[in-house]
C-alpha cells in the first residue's frame, strides 16, 4: 500500500517493467529499478526523480496505451515527481504552494516588484526614482548597498535552508541514512551526469517530444537555461566580491567580468526558456503532467523575466528608466529566490540527489559483483 494513488500506479508500472526490462539501456531509472523487487514510497520517489522525462520508454514500449497494460512511465513518473516535491517541502505549511504554483509565483512576483517600487518611492522622492544616475554607486542612490545585500542575503539564506531541509527528507526516504556515505567518485559521476544531462538523450538518439522522431532540442535549451543561470549566478557572486574585497561599486563597465558573465548568462536565459516553453507547448500531451503545467511554465517565465529585466537594466541604466527597471529586476530576482524551494527549481536539486544515489548504488553493485 502506498501513500498516494500515483505511487500505486508507479508501483504497478515498475512491476511491469521489472518483468520486461527492455528499456534497461535507455536511462538510469531501469537499472535502478532492477536492483529492487519491491518498491517503497521512497524508492518510487527516487525513481521518479531519476527520470529526465526523455519520453523514450514511452515511444519504445510495446505496452503503451492503447495497449491494455497501459504503460506510460514518463507521465506517471512526472506526476509522482511533482508530488514528491510537495511531500518533502519545508516547512510543511508551504507544501500546498506546489499545487497552485503558477498563481503563487505570479502573486509573489507581482507583490515583490510592487514592494520595490513603493519602497524606492517611499524612501526617496520621485526625483530620485525617475532620476538619471550614472557612475559607480548609481544603483545605491535608490537603495543602499547594505540594505540590498541584507535583503537578498536573507532571502537567499532562507531558500538554502528550505531546500536543504527538503533534500534531507528526500535523502532519508530514498537512501540509507546511516552508514551510507557519499564518496567522491559517486559525487563526481553525478556531477558529470547532471552537467551533460546524460539521461535526457533517449539512450543516445535524443529525446522524444512531439512525435516518434527523436531530437536533441530539449537538452540544448535546458543547457542554455542551466548554464545561463549558472553564469548569472557567477556574475552576482563576483560582483559581491568586487564590492567587499576590492571596494569597486556597481554598475561596472560592459567589459568588466560581472557584466560579461551576466550578459552571456542573460542571453542563455533568454534563449533557453523560450526554447523550453516552445518545446513544452509542442510536447505530446500523453507525456505531460497537465495538472502541473502551471508550475513548469511559472518557473520558466520567471527565469526569462529575470534575464529580460536584467538586460533591460543594462541597456537603459544610464537613463531615467533606471529606477523603475531596477525595481522591476530586483522584484523579479527577489521573488525567484524566495519561491525557489516551492517551485520547479527544486527538480534540479532532487534530480541531482537521485543521481548521486544512483552513482553510489552502481558503484556498490560493481564492487559486489567482483566478489
Amino acid at each position: 500500500m502506498h501513500g498516494t494513488k500515483i505511487l500505486e500506479e508507479a508501483d504497478r508500472l515498475m512491476t511491469v517493467c521489472n518483468s520486461c526490462r527492455y528499456c534497461e539501456g535507455l536511462c538510469a531509472v531501469f537499472p535502478a529499478m532492477e536492483m529492487r523487487r519491491a518498491f517503497s514510497d521512497g524508492d518510487l520517489n527516487y525513481l521518479a526523480n531519476l527520470c529526465h522525462a526523455c519520453g523514450a520508454c514511452y515511444t519504445d514500449c510495446q505496452f503503451s496505451p492503447p495497449h491494455e497494460f497501459n504503460v506510460n512511465v514518463p507521465r506517471t513518473l512526472a506526476v509522482a515527481r511533482a508530488e514528491s516535491y510537495s511531500a518533502y517541502a519545508w516547512p510543511r505549511a508551504f507544501a500546498g504552494a506546489f499545487a497552485r504554483n503558477g498563481i503563487v509565483i505570479s502573486l509573489v512576483a507581482a507583490l515583490s516588484v510592487a514592494a520595490f517600487i513603493f519602497g524606492f518611492a517611499a524612501w526617496h522622492d520621485r526625483q530620485v526614482l525617475f532620476g538619471t544616475h550614472t557612475g559607480p554607486g548609481a544603483f545605491y542612490k535608490l537603495m543602499p548597498h547594505n540594505a540590498m545585500a541584507a535583503l537578498f542575503g536573507v532571502a537567499f539564506l532562507y531558500a538554502i535552508v528550505a531546500l536543504t531541509m527538503g533534500v534531507r527528507a528526500f535523502w532519508r526516504d530514498i537512501g540509507e541514512p546511516v552508514g551510507m556515505k557519499t564518496d567522491a567518485a559517486a559525487l563526481l559521476q553525478a556531477l558529470r551526469d547532471a552537467g551533460e544531462l546524460r539521461h535526457l538523450d533517449g539512450g543516445g538518439v535524443g529525446c522524444f517530444n512531439e512525435d516518434d522522431r527523436p531530437t536533441d532540442r530539449r537538452r540544448l535549451y535546458h543547457h542554455f537555461t542551466f548554464y545561463g543561470f549558472a553564469l548569472c549566478f557567477a556574475s552576482t557572486c563576483i560582483a559581491t566580491l568586487y564590492h567587499y574585497l576590492l571596494a569597486r561599486q556597481a554598475p561596472y563597465a560592459w567589459w568588466d567580468l560581472p557584466v560579461v558573465l551576466g550578459t552571456l548568462g542573460g542571453i542563455g536565459l533568454l534563449i533557453g526558456p523560450i526554447g523550453l516553453l516552445t518545446e513544452r507547448w509542442k510536447r505530446d500531451s500523453v507525456l505531460v503532467d497537465e495538472a502541473r503545467h502551471g508550475m513548469d511554465v511559472a518557473f520558466i517565465v520567471m527565469l526569462f523575466l529575470t534575464s529580460l529585466t536584467g538586460m533591460a537594466l543594462l541597456v537603459w541604466r544610464e537613463t531615467a528608466a533606471m529606477g523603475p527597471l531596477l525595481a522591476l529586476h530586483l522584484g523579479v530576482v527577489f521573488s525567484l529566490f524566495i519561491t525557489m524551494p516551492y517551485g520547479k527549481f527544486v527538480h534540479g536539486i532532487y534530480r541531482f540527489a537521485a543521481l548521486v544515489r544512483y552513482a553510489m548504488e552502481r558503484r556498490a553493485m560493481a564492487h559486489g559483483a567482483g566478489e
Partner: protein, 463 residues
C-alpha cells in the same frame, strides 16, 4: 493509390521493413501495406528483444565469438535435423553482416549489461527492445521514400501461374482498392492469431491457447499463397510455444507473462498430478518445451508450485504468485483437490535426495523412486507460504510457411521458382526451423531473408 509500384511489401514487421529498405536502396519504388493500425505496426517484432548472429570475435555488445559452425550445430540440434541445410548455412553466413547492416538502418544495440538471460555471447540486444528497433527502421524507410500505409489489410491476391499481378486492399476509411506491382514480398507473419486455423491441427484445445503476440497475424496471406500454387513447408503442428501465466490477456501479452520458475518447484495438472521431469534441461531448452507439455494436459492448464524459500530466486513476475498458508489452502485457491495435491507434494518431498543445489548447471539434486522423476534441482517444498503460478500454452509463432530458395524467391508446387514473388520472416521460417527454437533466431530469419528478398525483388522489378 492507382500508381504502380516496383515492389509491394505486405506486412509491417522486421522482415517487411528490412525488405522495403533494401529494395528502396536498390533503387525500386516501394509500397508497404501494414494491416494493423499505426500503434500496433510491426506485428510480433514489437515484442522481440534480441537477434542471434554469427560473429568471429567479441565486441562491445557481444561477450565472445559465436562461429558459423557453432550456430549451425545449435540449429541442427534444436531442429533435430529438420532444416534445409543449404538455406540455413546461407542464413548463418549472411547473419554476420546483418549485425552491421541493421545498425546502418538506424537500429541501436545495447552494450551488454549483465542482464537476466545468459545470451550475452550469442545474441545482440536491441537498445529499448523490438519496438525501438522498429521505430528506427520505419524512420529510415520513411526518409528513404518508402511509402507506408497503415490499417491496410490485404484481403486478396491476384496470382497467375506463379506470377503476382495485384493485391486487393481493405481500409477502414477508403474501402477496398487494387494495388499493382512488378514484384511482391510477402512478410505478413504466421497464423498464430487465427484460432480457427490452429484448431485444424490442435482440435478444441486451441481454444485455451493464449497468443503472446499480435492479433493481426491471421495467416491470410500465407493461405492465399498456398491456395495459389506456392509450395508449403513445415509441419503445421509445429510452433514455438512456452508456458505463460494463465491470467495473461488472450492476445499481445508479450514477453512479461512468461514464467521460468519451473526448476524451483514442481508442475502439476488440474488433477494435481505431476506429468513431466521439471529438472530435465536448462534454459532455453526448458523454456521452449513447457508450452507443448501444458497443451497436452486436460483443459490446457497447469500449476507451477513452489515454496517461500525460492520466491526471490527468479525474475520478478507481472502477476503475483497465488499464496496459501498450507498446501490445502493453496489447493483451495487453485480449485484443485487438496488431498490429491498434498499427496503429490508429500510423495515428491519423500523422494528428494540430498545434493548441492546450483540452478546454473545440471546439479545433483534429484528424486528417486517416483515417476516422473525430477532429475536436477529437486528440493523439498516445505516452507510456507506455498506459492503457485497457473500457466497455459502461450503461442509465439507458427512454422508452416512458403517454400523459398536462396534468393528468398517462392518456389511453386511444381518445383519452379515464382516469376516475381518473394517471402521473408515468419511466413517462411519453416524452411530453416522445422521444429524447436533458439532465442533470437526469428529476427535473424526476418532480417537476412528480408534484406535478400528486397534486393532480389528490386532487381526482378527492373528487369
Amino acid at each position: 493509390m492507382s500508381q504502380k509500384f516496383d515492389v509491394l511489401v505486405i506486412g509491417g514487421g522486421n522482415a517487411a521493413l528490412c525488405a522495403a529498405i533494401s529494395a528502396r536502396r536498390a533503387g525500386a519504388s516501394v509500397l508497404v501495406l501494414e494491416g494493423a493500425p499505426k500503434f500496433y505496426r510491426g506485428g510480433n517484432t514489437r515484442h522481440t528483444r534480441n537477434m542471434r548472429c554469427a560473429h568471429d570475435a567479441a565486441t562491445d555488445i557481444l561477450t565472445g565469438p559465436y562461429t558459423e559452425e557453432e550456430f549451425w550445430d545449435d540449429l541442427l540440434r534444436l531442429t533435430g535435423g529438420q532444416t534445409d541445410e543449404e538455406l540455413a548455412r546461407f542464413m548463418i553466413r549472411e547473419s554476420k553482416d546483418i549485425l552491421n547492416w541493421i545498425v546502418e538502418q538506424g537500429v541501436r544495440w545495447q552494450p551488454s549489461l549483465g542482464g537476466t538471460l545468459s545470451l550475452g555471447r550469442t545474441n545482440s540486444f536491441f537498445l529499448g527492445g523490438g519496438r525501438a528497433m522498429l521505430n528506427a527502421l520505419y524512420l529510415t524507410a520513411e526518409k528513404l521514400g518508402v511509402e507506408i500505409v497503415y490499417d491496410a489489410e490485404v484481403i486478396d491476391l491476384e496470382i497467375e501461374h506463379g506470377m503476382f499481378l495485384s493485391a486487393r486492399l481493405k481500409q477502414p476509411v477508403d474501402g477496398t482498392s487494387e494495388i499493382r506491382a512488378s514484384a511482391l514480398v510477402a512478410a505478413a507473419g504466421g497464423f498464430e492469431a487465427n484460432i480457427e486455423w490452429l484448431k485444424e491441427y490442435w482440435g478444441e484445445a486451441a481454444d485455451n491457447f493464449l497468443i503472446r503476440g499480435t492479433p493481426y497475424n491471421r495467416g491470410s496471406i500465407l493461405k492465399m499463397l498456398l491456395d495459389n500454387g506456392v509450395q508449403d513447408i513445415g509441419d503445421p503442428t509445429q510452433c514455438h510455444a512456452v508456458a505463460i501465466d494463465a491470467r495473461a490477456p488472450k492476445f499481445d501479452g508479450g514477453i512479461i507473462t512468461r514464467h521460468d520458475s519451473v526448476v524451483f518447484g514442481i508442475v502439476v495438472n488440474k488433477r494435481a498430478q505431476r506429468f513431466y521431469d521439471e529438472g530435465e534441461d536448462i534454459w532455453p531448452k526448458r523454456y521452449a518445451i513447457w508450452g507443448r507439455l501444458v497443451a497436452a494436459q486436460p483443459d490446457q492448464i497447469a500449476y507451477i508450485i513452489f515454496d517461500a524459500s525460492v520466491r526471490n530466486s527468479f525474475m520478478p513476475t507481472l502477476f503475483p504468485p497465488i499464496e496459501g498458508g498450507s498446501i490445502a489452502e493453496l489447493a483451495g485457491k487453485l480449485e484443485l483437490d487438496p488431498a490429491a495435491l498434498e499427496k503429490t507434494i508429500t510423495e515428491f518431498n519423500a523422494a528428494v535426495k540430498p545434493g548441492t543445489f546450483d540452478h546454473t548447471i545440471l546439479d545433483d539434486c534429484r528424486t528417486e523412486g517416483i515417476t516422473p522423476p525430477k532429475t536436477h534441482w529437486a528440493r523439498r517444498i516445505e516452507t510456507p507460504p506455498y506459492l503457485a503460478y497457473p500457466v497455459r500454452p502461450g503461442i509465439t509463432f507458427t512454422y508452416l510457411g512458403t517454400r523459398v530458395n536462396r534468393q528468398a524467391r517462392m518456389v511453386m508446387k511444381d518445383g519452379r521458382p515464382s516469376a516475381n514473388m518473394f517471402a521473408a520472416g515468419e511466413i517462411m521460417a519453416g524452411n530453416v526451423l522445422g521444429k524447436g527454437y533458439a532465442a533470437g533466431i526469428g529476427m535473424t530469419i526476418g532480417s537476412v531473408f528480408g534484406r535478400v528478398a528486397g534486393r532480389e525483388a528490386a532487381k526482378n522489378a527492373r528487369n
